[in-house]
Symmetry: C2
Subunit: 145 residues, 2 copies
DNA sequence: TTTTATTTAATTGTGCACAATCTAATTTTG
DNA sequence: CAAAATTAGATTGTGCACAATTAAATAAAA
């Protein structure tokens, strides 16, 4: 029955820390007029410039029910454009705008700021990221079976 | 600029794994007619039987905007009751019902089932839980300053 | 003791998440 | 080719999260 105690669960610190982490980002992201999931989309677009909704969903593990309205809001604020592909009309391509590109300059300092608030070492951070990613990939593989 | 790549962030695997973890719980919790945050409330009530909303919020790091409607739904399904304290009328006490207690029997197997789906060792799980909790507590202390 | 400040919940509003369903476009099969 | 299956997104509905405001009760201070 000990199994059912909150403090014995892995899932809880994962859930709580994930939310506290986005709370840590919030003051920085508010200055850029972004939410945390919108910030993740921008990270992808700063890297790739042009992506389908499908691809964004695969990278972030999010479906169209989440992404469609989120991307529409980001289109309204001028960070990106959405156009249906001419080769395959089912596909909607998301493209970074000039304003979207500009925003990257304001974001460069964020990761360092967050890191400094965490009071952990760089080595800890790296190993933790690795462990979490490993579990995540394990789940991904399972899904494919 | 590498800092701004999705794959170099700690926050992202944390965010993604947290959601995938609740997805892992979902099929089990649906059988109990619970959502994941509701399950966390039940874990607390199975341990303590009687808790104020304030206390639940402190334990789960959730505020009344989240808890008030969530607890009302759980009251409607008969898992708990909500009564204003007579000593201090500001306080609402949440009390486990018989049905709520009964539900524990159906939940005992869940942690083991989840663990077996994760394909990690018990040692890994424990150390991971410890690391995440440590960071979480670090943030908690910061808030108090 | 009356004012002031604090505390606990509830309320309102916005933005995710995600299941389920739907539509339209493309592929695959017979 | 035509019918069936698959795929990409959009839509609808429910349930969190959380900021900001409000209301009521209690505690603290002048």
């Amino acid at each position: 029955m000990d199994q059912l105690h909150l403090q014995n669960q892995l899932c809880f610190p994962l859930y709580a820390l994930s939310r506290q982490m986005t709370a840590l980002y919030r003051p920085y992201l508010e200055k850029l007029d972004l939410t945390y999931p919108q910030y993740l989309v921008m990270l992808l677009l700063w890297e790739h410039e042009n992506l389908s909704i499908k691809k964004i969903g695969c990278e972030l593990w999010l479906d169209s029910g989440t992404l469609t309205p989120l991307l529409k809001r980001m289109e309204e604020t001028g960070l990106l454009t959405r156009d249906r592909s001419s080769e395959d009309e089912r596909v909607v391509n998301v493209h970074l705008t000039k304003e979207g590109r500009q925003l990257q300059k304001k974001a460069v300092g964020i990761p360092d700021n967050i890191f400094s608030e965490l009071s952990i070492t760089n080595a800890q951070l790296k190993s933790l990221k690795k462990e979490l990613s490993a579990i995540l990939n394990g789940l991904e593989k399972k899904k494919e079976l």
